[in-house]
């Protein structure tokens, strides 16, 4: 089936199977490999992309559901002027280690920030609970998130 949607700010169209997952379409057909596959069961958040501004696990989201919607991946986010605020906070706090989970965290943070849900420690901890990081132990990511949300420690 043919779907048309907006991908990282530009119009896109492609033929997909009804069973094609958004993650496979992005990685295999569009060669956007910033979204990663890990748990396959919507737990780890490393495949997070934004669909109409909402974070979704692309590993369990059908590509055809993206028809008519706006999809933002890390590659598109990195082109936006606001990205610098996120990236520099992660750099400042060394909140990146292996980098496998990092794009998912950044996109989740963007969605939280856009929704005004990044303004307290509780909101940050609640909002990031769907993203796993095995390297950092989270503290660095929390510190970066506080900077992005301008939350006092």
């Amino acid at each position: 089936m043919r779907i048309e949607f907006r991908l990282n700010g530009a119009p896109a169209a492609i033929d997909v199977e009804p069973s094609t997952l958004l993650l496979d379409m992005l990685r295999d057909d569009f060669r956007l490999t910033g979204a990663k596959r890990s748990c396959d069961v919507q737990v780890c958040g490393s495949c997070t992309v934004l669909v109409d501004g909402q974070p979704v696990s692309a590993c369990t989201y059908l590509a055809c559901e993206a028809g008519g919607r706006e999809v933002l991946t890390i590659e598109g986010f990195a082109e936006l002027p606001e990205f610098e605020r996120y990236a520099s906070a992660f750099e400042r706090h060394a909140a990146v280690q292996c980098g496998f989970c990092t794009p998912g965290f950044l996109l989740t943070l963007k969605s939280l920030s856009d929704a005004g849900e990044l303004s307290s420690e509780e909101q940050i901890r609640h909002g990031l609970d769907g993203n796993l990081c095995r390297c950092t132990g989270y503290r660095a990511i929390l510190e970066a998130a506080r900077d992005i949300g301008e939350v006092a420690a």
Binding site: R27, L32, T33, G34, A35, K36, R37, S38, C39, D40, V41, V43, C44, S46, T73, I74, E75, A78, Y86, A87, F90, E91, R92, A94, V96, Q97, C98, G99, F100, C101, T102, P103, L106, R125, H126, L128, D129, N131, L132, C133, R134, C135, T136, G137, Y138, R139, A140, I141, L142
Partner: protein, 761 residues
Amino acid sequence: MSVVTDTGTREVGRSRTRLDAREKLCGEAVFTGDMEVPGMLYGRVLRADVPHAEIVSIDTSAAERMQGVVAVLVGRDLLDIDPYYGHAIKDRPIVAIERVRFHGEPVAAVAAEDEATAEAALQAIEVVYEELPLVDTIERALEPDAALLHEGPIRPGLFHGLGNLGERDGNVGYRYRAAAGDVEAASAGAPHVVEGEYVFPAVYQYAMETHSVIADWRPREITLWASCQHPFLVQAEIADVFGLPIGAVRIHVPYLGGGFGSKSYTKMEPLTVALSRKARHPVKIVNRVDESMVTSRRHGMRCWMRTTADADGRLLTRESRFWLDTGAYMDNGPRVTATAADSAPGPYHWEAVDIEANCVYCNTAPSGSYRAFGATHLQWVAESQLDELARKASIDPLEMRRRNLLRPGEPVRPDGSGKPLDADLIGDVENAAAAVGWEEPRRPLTGRGVSVGLLAAGAHPVSRASVRMRADGSVEVSVGTTEMGQGPRTVMAQIAAEELGMSSDNVRVLGADTRFTPYDRSTGASRSTTLAGKAVQNAAAAVAGRLRETAAEVWGTDPELIDLRDGRAAHAELEMEFSEVIAKRFGFTGGEIIEGGEVRPMGGDTGSYAEGPVFWEVCVAAAEVEVDPELGVINVLRTATIADVGKAINPQLVERQDEGALMQGYGNAMFEEMVYSDGVLMNDNLLEYRVPRVQDLPREMTSIVVENADGPGPHGAKGCGEGALAAVPAAIVNALADAGIPMTELPLTPERVWRRLQELP
């Protein structure tokens, strides 16, 4: 928080931003799973759905007929080679041959034009099994009439590194003894005795990137792109199995999405190469999480321990016998076993010690390395016995440690062999205790604990590196260390830049490509900064020597009088950019300076690393917990961990490593457990296998960086990043005992804690 010594360095000791941060943040960093090579097929693996069986027959004909299927690999395709591998013991076939020994063992593999076709073809393969008696636990494996998982003579692997491996004893594949003194005599009449049995569960490393390999077999050369921590050991093993010279095996290592030991040594590489050989095409295999969970894990353990002390709380004797479940194949079992035995006494003065460590084959998935292996198994047992003795003797646990801990320079191993203690452990544990408010009054239902241990670190001290300065003065460091999140590309750049008197911004550190990158033994055992870093420092110093030599020639002075700073050579009022120095050297605007550096056990230009281990990694932590007695839920209120690193090349990265290790230790202590039932892993997914989430983070955590310049690496550095993982479970267990709930089995799930509470008076 850090205890810092200022050595006047400009790059070393500064928290430089990670050089790989930006490409990782932008989603540009390339991992093996992101790569495609021309003509590449997709491989999927058929895994045994029985834990122990003879293979009666495998029918692949239907799968082979399927559109899009290029090759189906089974054991009989490997008759022309010696298809067994294993760096310690060659006990593992590339795919099952005649017999399967664990649920999830590869039995066949399919290469097809796409992944869905390969997956569908797996369903068309018919395997007939005849089940064999199940040996799924340590207890069953040790029964006198247990079926034997392996028979016949032991075949040592290329890198067991353990001297004489000994003979198998039933299902005990490897045994290690460490004893000194006369335990019976020394413990006779001891006023304080503690004895207990302990259980540590099998756990999964969960590197978020699963094992991923692309292999391209050709008759005279094999090329791999692999998520591997030890490319040079994999290179040698692949060369050995497929009958090629080492140099004909080329391994590229892109970024790794975490390792933690799960990608150490050889994992999915031989199978992927064998499938490529059958398909005559490059093949990519990317495991699912459930497949990686049966590719590597941490050993489960059963342990008996007995410790005695005199009336003043002075330790007398320790005895321990323990059994590690290594699964169906040895992988790194022998090294894990020996390291656990090293950790069993703990860093204390003893009259006598008797440790017996056993590595046991079972019909479960193979166990290998996981961050702080051995120490994580034993430290919580050893340290909980120390606290129990302190309680019996009415001595504060911190005081108990002051009375018994080894001092710097004292031998660590009970028989006096090996490297003496190279750290101030009393200072370390006092710092950790203070950070969790050790002297503050205790509130009801809370407890505090400390723990101290050592981890034999560094593995084998063989590392080489090269440093290359281009005509424009920019530098590339070529070193085999794998970047899997721990930050070596940044740290190596800082080490080289310091030596060269330039900014690390102008240094690039490349990932391993075994065709060009100099040899490095491995990325693990906290060895990279210490050993590979030393090789980089030596190589950079040699390049600096060439720059000085040329500048001195130009200015007609002595090389020793040339100063290198800010990317320039300088002498009195004279200055030259490095690019000018190179232009003068060659009389041309091209050319380069390239030099090597070496670390080996003896001699060379680095001093001696002959006395193992390379260093003792400090495993010290403290914790404060609060217990909900109604629910058995433990709340970790405060933690403190010690990163005793000699010299922090990049202090921020040291703290971040330490915090990551802390949280893995927290997961290992609190809830992580691979649950087996009749040889089948029941929780092979992230819904049922729980790892720490952001909500689990303790509210107050302190990472203390200690810099006593007592390490054998560059600028007095020694490795870090593992100690907290071993120390944190022990500190939590001790804090819980301090709150009145002594535990002898991990993880500390609410149910287990609640049940224990019901048993207590």
